[in-house]
Amino acid sequence: MNEPQTIEEMKLVLEAVLLTAGQPLSLDELLRPFAGRMERATLRMLLDEIKADWQGRSMELLQVASGWRFQARAEFATFIARINPERQARYSRAALETLAIIAYRQPVTRGDIEEIRGVAVNPNIMRQFIERNWIDIVGQRDVPGRPSLYATTRTFLDDLGLRSLSELPPIQHFTQQEIPLEPTQAD
């Protein structure tokens, strides 16, 4: 095919690129196939059109933290899962709590995590999230020992299908709203 000329051809190129990518593609990356012959505004418009074209079909075009990707609609997840029954184990509670602290309280040190959870942090937990590229070190706190500060990455957001941290479920205090502490008589 020569360089795409019509809107239809451009949409086909974008579809081909996105359906084969296996990961989110940024706007800059999505401009590359057009070798300088496409405006960002046009690209955005085309992406919106493709998104609309795929309404009610097997896949959906979604924008996540690091770009655009096609993913199977949630309702098909169970059927896809049946192809490969052995699935990745889910994280332990300790791991999830550690991840939650980093996600909601970032940037945090290991000391902060230990303070919140009341127990020592298992280094393997940190390592598994670093290996998955869900967390990384973003600096050091300027206190003695200069402990590393951890934060979640763009990949973490991508993998949860989020565009930004603000899309995380809001953290809730189940306890009743602020009640002034009444000094109770010693029991």
Partner: protein, 266 residues
């Protein structure tokens, strides 16, 4: 270990005489039972929630007493697990003792000694719930499946850039090194001749035999170009790259690439 663990604890007067059933853990497995908690805060939270205590109005004595029972069991069974829990006991006892002390008028404004504990419990509970929410979220590779259709990978060769300045520089360095180039005149005109030598050779590769006049597009080419073509042919002949043949005077002149002669004539 006895099948029924005696836990001497009372919360709001309720006797807690066995390991809570709602954990689905065999009562003789204290270690596992304690492993089910993520630490002293988790255990405290459990005790508070289990007995529906108001987290903002913790009855310190009861809580501390019950907590200490757990710690005591831990000390018996699995010491290394107890460190974090012991620290918490110390904190609970400290809070309790501060609450027992009579408050002088002067420090009436002192914060409730339980405040720090309550703050930590609330923060931990919030994180505990957030962790559950995170776990419930769709995850890549589990609920989220990304399109990754196959495509033919063509190695997109990115050729290096070459500017003609670079080419000239390269040429100059060649000239500098090759002293025998003094015999050659290299310049605009000659370049053009050499280009036309290549052009003539290309045509002769396609049409093995070419009539002399066919090489000259008199209608479309300007005089300088025709001259350059002619020079190119002479140079090709001189270098033995083409054969120029004529059967007799005034008959057509034919050009043939020297290397094509063998195949075409024999």
């Amino acid at each position: 270990m006895s099948a029924q663990l005696a836990i001497d604890a009372r919360i709001y007067g309720e006797q807690l005489d066995s390991i809570p059933h709602d954990l689905y853990i065999p009562p003789d497995a204290l270690e596992i039972y304690l492993d089910a908690f993520e630490g002293p805060l988790d255990l405290l939270l459990y005790l508070i929630r289990k007995h529906n205590l108001d987290i903002l109005d913790i009855p310190m004595a009861e809580l501390t007493r019950q907590y200490m029972d757990y710690v005591e069991k831990m000390r018996e069974e699995k010491l290394e697990l107890a460190a974090d829990y012991l620290l918490m006991s110390a904190m609970l006892i400290e809070i309790k003792s501060r609450m027992l002390l009579p408050k002088p008028e002067a420090i009436e404004q002192e914060e409730d000694p339980r405040a720090e504990l309550v703050r930590r419990l609330m923060e931990y509970e919030a994180i505990k719930l957030a962790a559950q929410r995170l776990d419930d979220m769709p995850q890549l590779g589990q609920e989220i499946q990304v399109a990754q259709a196959y495509y033919e990978q063509i190695s997109q060769v990115q050729w290096p850039e070459v500017s003609f300045e670079e080419l000239m520089t390269a040429w100059q360095s060649v000239l500098k090194r090759a002293s025998h180039f003094q015999h050659h005149k290299v310049g605009r005109a000659e370049l053009s001749v050499r280009e036309h030598m290549s052009l003539v050779l290309r045509r002769l590769q396609q049409e093995s035999l070419l009539e002399f006049t066919q090489l000259f597009d008199v209608m479309n080419e300007g005089l300088p170009r025709l001259v350059v073509y002619f020079l190119a042919i002479l140079e090709l002949a001189r270098e033995g790259l083409v054969r120029i043949t004529q059967q007799e005077a005034f008959s057509p002149i034919y050009l043939q690439a020297a290397d094509m002669m063998v195949t075409s004539h024999e």
